[in-house]
Symmetry: C3
Subunit: 418 residues, 3 copies
Amino acid sequence: MIDKSALDALWIMIGAVLVLMMQGGFLCLESGLTRSKNAINVALKNAFDLIVAALLFWLLGFTIMFGQHDAWSLDLRWLAADFTDDSLWHASFFLFQLTFCATAATIVSGAIAERSRFQVYVLITALISLILYPTFGHWAWSGAINPTSGWLEALGFTDFAGSTVVHSLGGWVALAAVIVIGPRTGRFVQGKPQEIPGSNLPLAILGMLFFMIGWIGFNGGSTLEFNEKIAGIIVNTIISACAGGMMAMILSNAEKEKVRSTSLTINGTLAGLVAITAGCHLVSTPHAALIGAIGAFVMFMTDRLMLRYQLDDAISAVPVHLAAGIWGTLAVALFGHLDALGEPFSRFEWIGIQLIGIAACALFVFPTSYLVLQLLKRLTPLRVSLDAEHQGLNFSEHGARTELSELLSSMQEQERTG
Amino acid sequence: MIDKSALDALWIMIGAVLVLMMQGGFLCLESGLTRSKNAINVALKNAFDLIVAALLFWLLGFTIMFGQHDAWSLDLRWLAADFTDDSLWHASFFLFQLTFCATAATIVSGAIAERSRFQVYVLITALISLILYPTFGHWAWSGAINPTSGWLEALGFTDFAGSTVVHSLGGWVALAAVIVIGPRTGRFVQGKPQEIPGSNLPLAILGMLFFMIGWIGFNGGSTLEFNEKIAGIIVNTIISACAGGMMAMILSNAEKEKVRSTSLTINGTLAGLVAITAGCHLVSTPHAALIGAIGAFVMFMTDRLMLRYQLDDAISAVPVHLAAGIWGTLAVALFGHLDALGEPFSRFEWIGIQLIGIAACALFVFPTSYLVLQLLKRLTPLRVSLDAEHQGLNFSEHGARTELSELLSSMQEQERTG
Amino acid sequence: MIDKSALDALWIMIGAVLVLMMQGGFLCLESGLTRSKNAINVALKNAFDLIVAALLFWLLGFTIMFGQHDAWSLDLRWLAADFTDDSLWHASFFLFQLTFCATAATIVSGAIAERSRFQVYVLITALISLILYPTFGHWAWSGAINPTSGWLEALGFTDFAGSTVVHSLGGWVALAAVIVIGPRTGRFVQGKPQEIPGSNLPLAILGMLFFMIGWIGFNGGSTLEFNEKIAGIIVNTIISACAGGMMAMILSNAEKEKVRSTSLTINGTLAGLVAITAGCHLVSTPHAALIGAIGAFVMFMTDRLMLRYQLDDAISAVPVHLAAGIWGTLAVALFGHLDALGEPFSRFEWIGIQLIGIAACALFVFPTSYLVLQLLKRLTPLRVSLDAEHQGLNFSEHGARTELSELLSSMQEQERTG
């Protein structure tokens, strides 16, 4: 069994392993950028996201996304499928897609960390894994294993590894959730944002490294085969990330206060990664650097815009995944080699097509998630009580105490008795 | 050199790299679930386990496990062998086996953390790497590179990647050590277990992710070749893990107090991984989900049972590795495709054979380690002094101070002087 | 495209991914071994090192290192090159080399942590990525993709994966920086070293594991092809690391105080890795164990020597990377199979050639970096103010507060008001 398809399967399995490292990246990033009293809640939510997304995508999401549906019926071939009975390549493909779905699902939760109830995370994860991601993914990517393509793909929409399909999609849900759920208590005082320092920035920076490593699989594996273009795609990915980090470091040092320079550098790097995701297979390396740098700039401006409108995104998921994702999707048409597509349309037409894809994602995902969350809000509170928020979600949601809180109470004890 | 064997060697080298990630998983899990004052001790023990196990397995363990011994003499071909002089495949095989031995060795230490002396860890690691694991491994797995099989393998005992050979084996030693060494001071007050909160649950959850990533190599690599079944094996592994995590989350939320929901979710996921290890190559994906969920249930009930008998396992290594390992070994016979084996026996006979393997492990490993530890206890204390336990093993065993303890003393200073 | 070169490219891409894990190792190690008040600064510096080194090596460093220069002109073929336009193998080669340059660049910063200004890190990284590493690398390694070799390579200098080219080189810069910048305030009191405990030793130990995993790619990938020797190389790497860790654990337990046993065990393991890097392809596994053990001993003695001369290397980068790197480079000639080279010279001549390489590195790198730093010192302070050093570089350099510092001030508040 040593033929081309063996190497293809090996490559996307390696890709899947690396994309799982991104889950570690999310965990480190999010629990590092939030406060100790919520860090367990945030980390557990990240792990549980993966569990829920994997199970639901296996049960139903995969067959929705990659079934060959027609107008009258859904193709439910892979409903809770047995992949040991399938070919090596196809089982590898499922594995790779599973990790992508988990990535889309986990983007949201960081944005609404430190005040949302654990059940809300789980519900959003289910919404993404079962409906939003498989549906939009079907439109853009189902041609990968089917004779016919989804309508966006048929139109010529190009989103290689998911600047829109994965990242903007997650970002739109995050934006809806941030609006519906509201800011953390104390985040805005008389309209002015109050910096809330993260508990463990070194961990967050480690998370950034995990993202860079994981994205090698995310973009590199999206060829879905082992071909000549892979190494160039990975070089583009790394260079774009570094250009984004550099740009964010420069921008943050131009600010009056340096307090956000660490988190901005992290997020600039991530914005560079998100931005290059759609077009890493079609742009040159110097253009990749440019796309990453602009991605970080877009992230930076969106971050400011959100603060102006008092939208509180605890880890800047919207600026990173939504804004840089939109930019990256557009950038394909601006910088991509037209001849690589066989020039079926002009650059101008291409921009239009990319805009259609961006708009389709916005119009499908944002209202749906906004409405679902508003409906849910009438049934049950989406955020923890003010007391619980003050006390920390580690304890209120999971009964988990930290040593720091234990330390504090033991010191008070000491004071009283001694 | 591009033939099938090249891809086989590549695959098990990738497997070995991933299994080393599991060492990172153990480190994060164990130092996250224990208290700060012991976290350095726990982490160092994990790293040192790997060092000791690797050296001893290279020196002697490998040749015991995979030598072609006969009744009259041991085959010591690979005593401190030079693997640069060996074939690519064989050196890769050694590398892969080395990481398995290190995994078996490191299971125990978490169970007896926070009160055992460092030397005891080292001794147990030596016992496992030199005698217990190579001997039992010889019975079950030596046919992988030898013309004749060990007796368990010859009988038809099926343990693909080591639910019994690695995990239960480590679990039996852990159980013996927990009994001989006794609970942490303060863990049981008038027979009632007192929750001891971990120092860093986010780190423990990161550890869980490392386990999921690492297990892809643990199970996926155990084909010992790159074949058609690999991707299905990995899908089974991930789905079983997630089903275990889901089951544990549900069970823990049904408890009166939520305090243990985080660690139970972690351990349920690990139990799912342990349980699917024996049969991931022979069961369907839906059965893998079932096996994982039941694995978590078995872990949960064993955890309660141990608390009832006042057995203090600091990270629930026995419920995870021993109990779920036994379940997983049985589950092969319950759910495995009989025809895959060429149907040499009935399902009922198969269950019997699996029980023989489980019993052989119990009868060989538990008494041996129990006796060794009891003997040792007469020569030297196995646990640190009560004072040292109170002060923390970081300091008593390694002279290491933490910033938190420094902080405390500087505050007391401040109080006195100001 | 399934031929030998595909597997070669796959292998060095896997290598590059693993070497990036070493960046995670540096981050964990360095921020774990330094104090909380500086840990963010240290971690950010590690991430930013990678960003700066990657961009500069792509822009200019790579073409300096691997261009086919002649006496009259530089070959600037790869100036800010477009690697998507290049062959798979060549783009993979660039990716792999990029991660090596980042490794060389990041060695220095740990040594001068906790007192140096952030800009100094960035400048040193630029110096290494643009000039020192590409130049010396050209001498030793440019034959890998060119018809003619650099002068050291032509001479017969053997440094497989960079004991000298990467590690000693970084170590010489670190030594110069330690001398010019001076010790941390309070590190030496009346000439006696004062132990400064790290903030997070478990994280540092996790870093050690990341190093072991990453080094599999560092050494294993340096074959630059997928060949028969790879698995033996990796076995040698792991065994040498473990022998180094074991030796350091023994040495540290022989000291009067155990306080440094944790960091010494970590650094002994790293010294074992550094030492085997030059010759892992030419020595037997038992010799690898010996080389690693002696590497740890050399590290240990150099560490003491530096303390005697009041040279303050915050993470022992000089003992690990410079001293063990020199030893490893020599060890190739002492233990390497001469016949593997086709015996162009005697063992005695080989020792001489290795010494020339070691000396060339010393004479080129140390004075250059010493002079650059001395010049720079006249223009701008290299270290933060005494106040900033006391307060911690997290805040002074990045405005970043930690929860611990917040906790302290809130407790003081409490004391005042209650």
